[in-house]
Each structure stands twice: as C-alpha cells, then as structure tokens.
C-alpha cells in the first residue's frame, strides 16, 4: 500500500515537473515569436509627431463630503454627474459641476472599492468587502430610502475590486479578490459567465470600446493583464511584463491597445494586434505605485494617479512625462476622464475628489 502510493506520488511529481518545464519552454518560444515582428519602437515612430506645448491643468472643482478615503468613482453619461465610494461605506452621487450631492447611501460594509454608474443614469452599482456587487436605482422620491430598493447582483467569495455595466443597465461585469471575473444578469442575479485564469486577486477591469464589442481586459496581483472573450469565457490574450500588482487597466480609445498602471511605479501600453508591450511610462523619480490610469479623448495623453499623492500626465506616443499635478494630500486611488473628454476626476485617500481641466 505504502509503496504504491509512493510510486503514484512520484509519478505525479514527475508529470508536474515536466508540465511545468513544457509550459516554461513554450512561454519562451511565444516571446520569441512576439519579438520577431517587433521592428520599431513607438517613440521612434512618434518622432515626426509634433511635441506637446505648455500644459496647464488645474483643479476646477473640489468635492468634499466623504468622511473617509475615496476609493472609486465613475462618470454618468451626462458628462457631469459622478458616483463615488469610500472606506466608510458611503456611496455618493454628485452633480460635480455644481458640487451638489444628489444621492447618498451607506453600504453595510466598509472599503467600498468599486462603484459604477449605469448607462441610463438611473442606477449605480457598488461593492467591496461584502464580496458582493449591489445595484441601487436612483430615485428622487420624497421619502427616498435608496437602501430599501437595493438589489444584490453579484456574489463572489472575496472582496469586489471592480465593477462595470456593459452597454445596458441589465448586465454587470465584476472583478474580485477571489481571482475571478464574472458577468451577471442584473434583474435575476444570475451568473452568465465566469472568467478563470488569474493566479491571484483581480484588481481591475475595462470593457473594450470595440464596435463589435465582446471583450474586456483585467489586471491582477499575478502581474498579468488578460483579455477575455465575454461570450465564451476564454482568455484570448495575456501579458505579463509588470513587476508587481496591476492596479488599473484602460483601453486606448481605438480599442487596439490598453494601458496599465502598477505598484511597480510604471504604466505600460500593450498593443493587441502586435500582441506585445509597446511602451513603458516611467521615471526614476517616480517610485510609488500607479493606482489608476485613463486616456484623454484622443488617446494622446495618459493620466495616471499615484500612491505618492500626485497625478502624472504622459505623452502616450513619445513616452515622456508632460506634467505633474499636485493637490491631493494622500494617495490618488481613482481617476477617470469624463465621457466627452472635457475634464478628468481624481479621488483620493484625502477624502476629496477633484475635477481637473
């Protein structure tokens, strides 16, 4: 009995070791294949593009009202309203143009790390340490009790790190500390598709702007950025060049590439057709992680919020840093450009949100 088990154990170990080495050698060959078609660098191609002139962006609005760290925010399609969530469980909907608060709800959990505005502007979704994603319809009824109308949609086995509605109010895509992403039907709470492949917590996701859209990208603590087919649940492409957790991923406006921000203090650009990393945005003086990234409307600028309280603005094509924005008094935890590209909003552990233009 003992010797048979020992032999089986030995066989299993051999198979495991040989699988591992096969996987490693294939990975190496894949890198070689990718490298073969890499005939020029982005900044070389960008030499003939005009350099950017003086760059001035200022805080135009400061939104005060959260009693604790702001963790996440999202814009409404009306280009002025936003939803934000914080460590103390508060989720607030603001008209950021007037800085008025329009709705507020307190979640039953702390660290609400994810929030999203529905495409119709009629609902918001949020979640965090409760391992769930809940949808709240926005109402202006007299005795408004948003919490009463709450709908629990997603159920994960660990914290919710990101959520996003798809093209309608009826579907939500979530990312979780349990290492998976999932697509849910809002009305029934049914799990439509799950996405397995990350080797650790998934921290962020972004839906592709593609016209025939059905893909999204996710980033995680396994240092991988993975592109998924929403319909089949399969991982289509995977990129592993960061040295640390990937905190944020965002598609380039054309949909042909995406940017990532990581704890390794760099942001990177990955091209989907070339199937490789094509640019790194880093500076020796930047040593704190990038928590959140987003492109300007044309994709020429990449705004990145960092854990050193600053926002760095990068020239996506030339690879250089255009500007550094000071103002927040603690980590910048979230950053999104407005739907029409007129401004961007940053949220911070200093309890405030700022609109920059």
């Amino acid at each position: 009995m003992h010797s048979r088990m020992a032999t089986e154990g030995l066989r299993e170990n051999e198979t495991l070791a040989s699988l591992k080495s096969e996987a490693e050698s294939l990975k190496g060959k894949l890198e070689e294949e990718r490298a073969k078609l890499h005939d020029v660098e982005l900044h070389q191609v960008a030499e003939r593009v005009e350099a950017l002139g003086q760059f001035v962006m200022k805080t135009r609005r400061t939104l005060k009202g959260h009693g604790n760290k702001v963790l996440c925010m999202d814009w409404c399609k009306d280009k002025r309203r936003i939803v934000s969530s914080s460590q103390d469980g508060k989720v607030i909907v603001w008209d950021s143009f007037t800085t008025n608060k329009e709705h507020a709800v307190t979640m039953p959990c702390t660290w609400v790390m994810a929030c999203a505005y529905a495409p119709s502007g009629c609902a918001i979704a949020c979640g965090g340490l409760d391992n769930k994603c809940s949808v709240y319809p926005l109402t202006f009824e007299k005795n408004e009790n948003m919490a009463a109308k709450k709908k629990s949609v997603a159920m994960h086995t660990n914290y919710l790190s990101a959520c996003s509605f798809t093209n309608s109010d009826m579907q939500i895509l979530t990312a979780s500390g349990d290492g998976t992403c999932a697509l849910w039907d809002v009305e029934s709470g049914q799990l439509l598709q799950s996405f397995h492949g990350h080797g650790a917590d998934v921290l962020c996701l972004d839906l592709a702007p593609s016209e025939t859209g059905n893909t999204f990208v996710s980033g995680g603590c396994d240092k991988k950025a993975m592109v998924w087919d929403m319909r089949s649940g399969q991982c289509i492409q995977s990129f592993e060049t960061h040295d640390s957790d990937i905190n944020s991923v965002r598609y380039y406006p054309s949909g042909d590439a995406f940017a990532s921000g990581s704890d390794d203090a760099t942001c990177r650009l990955y091209d989907l057709r070339a199937d490789r990393e094509v640019a790194i945005y880093s500076k020796e003086s930047i040593i704190f992680g990038a928590s959140s990234v987003d492109f300007s409307l044309s994709g020429r600028l990449l705004f990145a919020g960092y854990n050193d309280y600053t926002i760095n603005v990068w020239d996506v094509l030339k690879g250089s840093r255009v500007s550094i924005l000071f103002g927040h008094e603690n980590r910048v935890s979230t950053l999104r450009v407005s739907p029409d590209g007129t401004a961007f909003c940053s949220g911070s552990w200093d309890h405030t949100l700022r609109i920059w233009a």
Partner: protein, 470 residues
C-alpha cells in the same frame, strides 16, 4: 479579511516603493555623487554627518532632472517614511527647503528592516519617555501608554526593566550621539505609530493575496500548467501584426482625434469646467437640431462614430430609408437589445426579432446570406443571448462596407456638414474673478417616472441627457 498594515508578506514585496526609496537613500549617501554632509549645529551641540533641507532638495533636482516643487514633494515623502529625519523640530516629519538640519535614518530603524513594529518595542519606548519626562507625556502617547499597560500587563516588569536599562546605557554616550539616537528612535515611532490626525503612510488597504487564492492555486497546479500550455499553443498560432503597422495606427488615430480632444485642443465656445458656461454641453447634447461641425466631421472617421452617436444614427436611418434598407439598422438595434437585455426576456426578444426581420414574408425582412440565415434559424430553436451574433455581424458589416461609404458621399451628409455650426469662442469675461452662476441640470434619473426607469434601462447604448436650463 484583515485590513491595515501588511502581515505575513515581507514589506519590501508588499510595498515595492520601499526598496526603491532605500536605493535612493543609498545613492544619496554615496561618497562621490551623494549629498555633501557636514557638521550641523543644533543650538550648542554639534551633530556630525548631517545635511540641510536645501541640500536634499538640490540633490534631488540634480539627480532626477525634476523641478523644485517635485523635489520638495519627493523629499517630503522620504522624510514621512522615516528614511530621513529632522534634527530641529523632530516631532514633525516634514522637509523644509532651507537650512534646517536633517540626518539619514540608520538602517536599523528603516521601515522595512524593523517590521512590524511590535507592541513590546513601543511599550519600552513609551516607558523610557515616561521615566525621563516623569509622567509628562503628550496626550496620545499617554493614552497609548495606559492602553499598553493594560494589554500587556503581564510583561510590564520586563518593559520597565528594559526601559531603565536602555536609559542607563544612553547616559554613557556623548551628548551628540544621545541626541541623534533619540531622534532616530522618535522618527521611527512617528512613522509606525503616527499621532492622531497625522496620515499613516504604512496603511495599505485591504490585504491582497490572502490564503484562499494561494491555496486554490496550489491544488490546481497540474491544471494550471495544462492551461498555460494550451494557452501558449493557441497564442503561437494566432496572427500578429508587425509593430511598424500597429504603431502607425496610433499616429493616424492621433492626427484624426487630437482636434476633437478638449483637453488637447480646447473646445468651442469654451470648456464648461473652466468658464462655468455650459453652452458646449447644450450644443453637443445627444439630440440637437443642428450639430456642430466637429461632431459631423467625426461621423466621417469610421462607422462606429456614426452609429454610436444618437444624432448620427438618426441621420443614418434617414439615409437608409432613402435606400430602402432601413430595416438593417432596426435589425441591428434589436440584436443589441437581445445581447444586452435581461436574461428573462431572451426568448421573447428572439421571437420578436424573428417575426419582424427573419420570418418568410416578414414586414422588415433583412437580407442575410443563406448560410447565415440557415444557421440562425436553427439556432433560434434554442434561443440564447448570442444566437443572433452571426446575423448581426453580417448586417453590421453590410452597413459599414456598403451603405456607410455611400452615406459619406451623399447630399444628406454634405448638407449636414455645410449647415453644421462652429460655435464662436466665448469672449473672456471682463471681470474674470466674478464666477458665473453654475446652474444645475435635471438628473437623467428624473426624466421619466420611476416605473419607466426600468424600461429605459433596457435600451442599450445611449443615455438621455437633459436639456440645459438657461
């Protein structure tokens, strides 16, 4: 779920910035290229191996080619993390760009070395202070002292003994060294036990990579590698595009879109966030009578721009009507409704699409190739969310490759371009410091009564945007 300081994982892994900061600190102390250190006078005592705040800022400016503001900010963070501490006003971990003296923290007290700072160590530190100051501690230190006294009461004799021993040893040192060690220790505790109100630079947020996922990872090892191999094989087989071609794409995209990027090129009449004037939003609302020139031009960039803009889509519909192919757009919209609709309505929507667009003799029959039609008709026997994908793609490509180029050449489009508005730039206000009144706008959630909110939430892609009050 644990929150707060990292446990279990070594800090240099959890906070990669610490390792980088340490490298910075080491190069700051390089005998040739580092900061020139000298004796600094602190009242009547001379402290060796010290530098001024100015020295630090200057060095950072030179080394990294950054501005003074950025250097000061970076230097401040280094001080906040306890790698450099002030000799004057040691309770405030702030970098001043003047002649204030600073010193490098000894590696013994580096944030990443002595990790985590234990309760016992803190107790000994407070006990020392308590003895030296004869009970006159700062408020929060007094509170902590009492708290610890209660919590680790059983080892309190040991704590007091250690404290006395360390104080005795300290008395044997030169005054200069004593001051330095006191400062070092104080700085360490300011970082690891910040006073109330001061930010805790070591706070990391919810713990990542908890046991659950690593356990899952270990048991799936064989499957994990099998999946990796499968993925690599598929990836090797995929077609890749040469970098030069891909990157050219960015240049072209950049050229096309930069004039439309408000942050890059400004916007007319003005950016609402800068001037408080919302005319820009009013003029670019989803449904206006006359669109702006930039907007109409954008419809010419690619088909997606046209169909995703509600106004553009309406114009496309007008055009398709003229060509008697309006049913294509309607079909595509219905398919979108299926793809992004509620799970419970799938069968209903599929049937509706079939009746309107696919059934023989349907009023708005769409022209799909026979193979796709056959596959689709077979598929709708067991309706699911993606059952119309092939048909939808076929019609989308038809509109894109066939109707769209004709649309761009049509009189309809040419007229739209000709009649489109170029808003004049808002004249700069005479009294710029007088802020324009910021008007509110009705929330999208208000547009229809509550019951209809669900109805509206169903239709994908575009959100209603309220008209602006004047």
């Amino acid at each position: 779920m644990t929150i707060g300081g990292p446990r279990g994982r070594h800090p240099r892994l959890q906070m990669p910035c610490l390792r980088k900061m340490e490298r910075m600190i080491v190069s700051m102390q390089d005998p040739d290229m580092g900061i020139k250190m000298r004796n600094q006078r602190l009242l009547i005592t001379v402290i060796p191996h010290a530098m001024t705040g100015n020295d630090i800022v200057e060095w950072l400016i030179q080394k990294y080619g950054i501005s003074e503001e950025e250097a000061l900010h970076l230097g401040n963070l280094i001080v906040k993390h306890g790698y450099i501490y002030p000799l004057r006003d040691p309770r405030s971990l702030v970098l001043r760009a003047d002649e204030s003296p600073y010193r490098f923290q000894t590696p013994y007290f580096w944030t990443s070395t002595k990790w985590p700072a234990t309760e016992l160590d803190y107790a000994i530190y407070l006990a020392k202070k308590n003895i030296r100051k004869q009970g006159d501690l700062i408020e929060h230190e007094k509170d902590n002292y009492n708290l610890l006294h209660k919590r680790i009461n059983h080892t309190w004799d040991f704590v007091v003994m250690q404290a006395r021993e360390q104080l005795r040893a300290a008395k044997q040192r030169r005054k200069g060294d004593r001051i330095v060690i006191d400062c070092q220790e104080q700085a360490f505790w300011l970082v690891n036990r910040p006073p109330p109100g001061a930010p805790n630079v070591l706070e990391q947020g919810p713990e990542r990579r908890n046991c659950h996922t690593t356990r899952v990872q270990l048991t799936k090892n064989m499957d994990y590698y099998k999946r990796e191999i499968e993925y690599c094989r598929k990836a090797m087989a995929r077609t890749r595009v040469k970098s030069s071609i891909c990157l050219e794409g960015y240049i072209k995209f950049n050229e096309q879109y930069v004039p439309h990027d408000p942050i890059m090129s400004g916007c007319l009449p003005s950016n609402p966030w800068i001037t408080d004037d919302t005319t820009y939003w009013v003029m670019n609302a989803p449904t206006v009578t006359t669109p702006t020139k930039l907007r109409v031009e954008r419809w010419g960039f690619n088909f997606s721009e046209l169909i995703m803009d509600p106004l553009g889509r309406a114009q496309l519909l007008e055009f398709l009507k003229k060509e008697f192919s309006a049913e294509n757009l309607s079909f595509w919209e219905a398919c979108e409704e299926l793809r992004y609709g509620e799970q419970s309505r799938i069968a209903e929507i599929v049937d509706s699409i079939y009746q309107q667009f696919l059934a023989p003799g349907a009023t708005r029959w769409v022209n799909i190739d026979s193979k796709t039609m056959e596959r689709t008709l077979e598929g709708i026997k067991t309706p699911h969310r993606y059952v119309m994908d092939d048909a939808q793609m076929h019609i989308y490509m038809l509109m894109k490759k066939d109707s769209y180029p004709r649309f761009l050449k049509s009189d309809l489009y040419k007229n739209l371009l000709a009649e489109a508005i170029i808003p004049p730039e808002t004249k700069k206000r005479v009294f710029p410091f007088m802020r324009k009144q910021r008007h509110s706008s009705p929330s999208p959630a208000l547009l229809l009564p509550a019951g209809d909110a669900e109805e509206r939430g169903r239709s994908p892609s575009t959100a209603p945007v309220p008209e602006e009050e004047s």
